[in-house]
């Protein structure tokens, strides 16, 4: 192979490995799917927030906590495919170790919240809800809000 041929192959490999891929049709499915999961968590966290502010019936607190915990456990899998787009910043994949650790922590915290709520209701779980639903700390780093 000539020097120019080697250079071309090298460039192609470098580009393929390092440059972010724009979303294709299949990629859009990946984005849509993780958006469904994140929006579910957003809705459930908002419902829990309303209950904590006594703006919604407390009877449903445990169920919301359970749905949140179930959904949090599916979130990491939804981000495993490296597809840029939606509201996810590229930092999700460039700092995957940190991002996935934070999702694991969220999964553990929401599972704890759900089991505490199941055992003791909203009174027992309210304090844990503040910690479990500390969404902003991750969103500030990894979410790029669409205008």
């Amino acid at each position: 192979m000539t020097r120019s041929g080697q250079f071309a192959v090298g460039c192609a490999i470098f580009v393929a490995l390092t440059v972010s891929t724009p979303a294709r049709a299949d990629d859009q499915d990946v984005i849509d799917y993780r958006v469904h999961i994140m929006k579910t968590m957003e809705e459930q966290a908002a419902a829990i927030g309303q209950i904590l502010q006594q703006k919604a019936p407390a009877d449903n607190f445990t169920i919301h906590a359970q749905v949140l915990a179930i959904t949090a456990a599916t979130a990491k899998r939804a981000f495993e495919s490296k597809v840029l787009g939606g509201e996810a910043k590229a930092d999700v994949w460039t700092h995957w170790a940190d991002f996935s650790k934070r999702l694991d922590d969220l999964t553990a915290a929401t599972a704890d919240l759900a089991s505490t709520a199941k055992a003791g209701g909203v009174a027992a779980a309210a304090a844990k809800a503040q910690t479990a639903l500390n969404c902003k700390s991750c969103h500030d780093i990894y979410v790029e809000r669409k205008k």
């Binding site: 999961i37 809705e43 419902a47 703006k55 919604a56 019936p57 169920i63 749905v67």
Partner: protein, 148 residues
């Protein structure tokens, strides 16, 4: 005097019959039920993507459990008669039918979630059962006024 009483009675009747305009507290009621219905929408859409093989099915059982749990609280969130959001007045005008449909939805989604957990997401009969349980359109056509 008699005329004043007649007006007062008419005003009272009007207050009973007219749909209530949402107040600040009423907006909380609307927001809360919308969180629930949007959760159902997002989770159903995720299930739809799995059934159409657009995404892998690893999370099938989780999505079905989330739907079944959320369906349990949906009816309660509509109990306060507060018009607004995307709910048509028919929700409360035809409460017996609406609540019957909601209870069936809750029962069917619980059943399909339990079956998926027991038999796994590879069960060939699962897809049809999910489609039956998530037949949202029939209720939405009657009771939902979708915002543009």
């Amino acid at each position: 005097m008699k005329h004043t009483i007649t007006i007062a009675v008419h005003m009272a009747l009007l207050a009973i019959c007219l749909p209530t305009v949402a107040s600040a507290d009423d907006q909380d009621v609307i927001d809360y039920r919308e969180h629930i219905m949007k959760t159902l929408e997002e989770q159903s859409a995720a299930m739809g993507m799995i059934l159409s093989t657009a995404v892998p099915g690893d999370n099938t059982v989780s999505h079905l459990q989330a739907i079944a749990l959320t369906a349990q609280v949906a009816l309660k969130s509509f109990e306060p008669k507060v018009l607004g959001g995307e709910a048509k007045p028919e929700v409360w005008n035809n409460w017996a039918d609406f609540s019957k449909r909601m209870n069936e939805f809750s029962k069917n989604t619980a059943l399909v979630a339990a079956q998926a957990k027991e038999k796994g997401s590879d069960d060939p009969a699962l897809a049809d059962k999910v489609v039956d349980a998530l037949s949202c359109k029939s209720c939405h056509d009657a009771y939902r006024k979708e915002k543009k």
